[in-house]
Point group: C2
Chain length 340, copies 2
């Protein structure tokens, strides 16, 4: 198994990328890595070059670049070359910590969509209080979706939850503005009907954004616009409160500091609950190969976890299952699909 | 000034309703109250009947009732009678802690819409880290909105932020999936253009759900579906973390409990930051009179704050300003408006 890694993407590249890759290489002896990036920066970081191949390039996609333009224009960028390696069958999957928009564009225009899927979705894992986590998609690969596309997300999410989370019959929920079946706008009412009629899915009905972290479903299906707002609102509230908590402890004198010190290890457990990097990165699904985005601020451990996740996808042939499913169910293919 | 109060709505009615009304009556000598509900339950709770008029009814809207059906069928329900009092000009405003859906239906079908506004919106105040808070609308009165309606929300929100929050030029933000002007689906791109072109508004551009609690805008405009998900995600994340924090302190032995005790007053300050009841309730705006929903679990103090908010609306004649504005700007009136 070969994973193409954009070694230059992310806030702390290439340091954390190389460190995470080496951790994963040591842990998984069935994985080889193609590292794309500046050899002058990368070479000094490599401790052991076993199963690492370095492909030198100095060009890179910047977070300020317009995504599609960057992918089309910067032919030698580390992210573009990594995606190209998958297209050329030199690698099985791509990992990047770089711009989500650019990686999405690289996925669509270089790796390519699975036949029948016209709108790949971005699928992170979010935390739950019982530490099981859940998959949510789409969280923003698209600004607009149709009901048939949301059904496709449910089907794909179902395979991923089975393969990556070891859940036999994942509970599929539809993010909506109430739990009753008739809730939502036309899109969500139509989607509800499609999900409810699909006998292959363990559809548990509508779920509300307020109960996501309680673990009401294993896969939460949503249109990209609502999913994006919901993900960001959840992250923003969590970050704000944890930061206020830190200030509460640090800025309120000796008594508060002492209280914080006594709670330190327990509070760390609380913060860990909301650190979802242990589940891997956000997968761009509906593409012909695993394309995974790790957080721009990811550390080496998070890179390791993202590689672990990719390895699970490749080992389980999750994408092949999706391909086979849509081959066998031509009625599931959206009409606007142009991909062949 | 007369406020019609649905004394039977909410989890702790009529106790907290009456207690809050009496606090407000003592604080504001320019306000009279019409209390609708069961006199057998209410009378024993009243300490002093100055400026309180009790109108007996035993019927009430249940939280499980289908909203429109309840409002049309239960003619003697406390919520219906309170709304009817406004329609008959016997009261200036309505307050209820009951079902949001039913109060929305009562607002639309009994109080009535302002000429030119076909989709009233639900507008709560959300917290910010600087304790200033911000208004957000619509958070779910509608499952779908058009761009022109979002512009109307901005205009109405602008008047409310001026009158209730004492902000001269409220910063208006559009909730979107990125801050760049071209972001979002067609609805949000169209809305951006309308807001940007309106010279009466201090439009600060797109805002993301992740930065709402940092106070990026004084009024956040959103369609009801996205607003509902964003509000619920924010509330859900805050509630989950604060509850986990409590368990972290209580379930981890003596050391953690001691740490919690030392931090107690400071942590209380943190929880208070997220208690938005001090700003009042959620106002249903676009109606001919103030219709305010306080939380079902509100305490007497929250009822008092909601009355304070209604008093500000009535004193400032905020609704008249909205009416005058749309009279003077017929081009702002949505085409589907049927109201006269």
């Amino acid at each position: 198994m070969k994973i193409a890694v954009d070694a230059m993407g992310g806030d702390n590249a290439p340091e954390v990328v190389i460190a995470g890759v080496e951790q994963a290489r040591d842990a998984f002896n069935d994985v080889e890595f193609l590292l794309y990036g500046d050899e002058n920066k990368i070479k000094p970081l490599i401790k052991d070059d076993t199963r690492l191949t370095l492909i030198h390039t100095t060009e890179k996609v910047e977070s300020t670049d317009e995504p599609v333009k960057a992918i089309r224009g910067k032919k030698q960028a580390s992210m573009v070359l990594a995606a190209q390696a998958v297209k050329n069958k030199e690698a099985d999957a791509v990992l990047s910590l770089g711009s989500t928009g650019a990686l999405l564009a690289a996925g669509l225009f270089i790796v390519g969509r699975i036949r029948g899927i016209d709108r790949p979705g971005l699928m992170p894992t979010l935390p739950t209080t019982d530490d099981k986590g859940f998959l949510m998609l789409d969280v923003g690969a698209n600004a607009e979706n149709r009901a048939q596309q949301l059904l496709q997300y449910a089907i794909m999410g179902n395979f991923y939850a089975q393969d990556l989370r070891d859940i036999k019959q994942p509970r599929i929920g539809l993010l909506n503005n109430g739990t009753e079946p008739n809730k939502g706008d036309k899109l969500h009412q139509e989607t509800f009907a499609l999900l409810d009629a699909d006998k292959d899915l363990n559809f548990v009905g509508n779920v509300e954004a307020s109960s996501l972290l309680s673990g009401v479903a294993d896969v939460v299906v949503t249109d990209g616009f609502t999913g994006n707002a919901t993900l960001k609102a959840t992250e923003g509230a969590a970050r704000t409160i944890l930061s206020l908590l830190k200030h509460t402890i640090m800025d309120n004198g000796v008594k508060a500091k002492l209280g914080g010190a006594l709670l330190k290890s327990d509070l760390k457990g609380l913060a860990t609950k909301f650190d979802v990097s242990r589940y891997g990165g956000a997968a761009l699904i509906g593409l012909k190969a695993p394309v995974v985005k790790a957080h721009g601020a990811a550390d080496a451990k998070a890179v390791y976890y993202a590689i672990n996740q990719i390895r699970d996808m490749v080992t389980n042939q999750t994408i092949q299952k999706v391909v086979d499913y849509f081959e066998a169910h031509p009625e599931m293919v959206t009409k606007t699909t142009k991909e062949a």
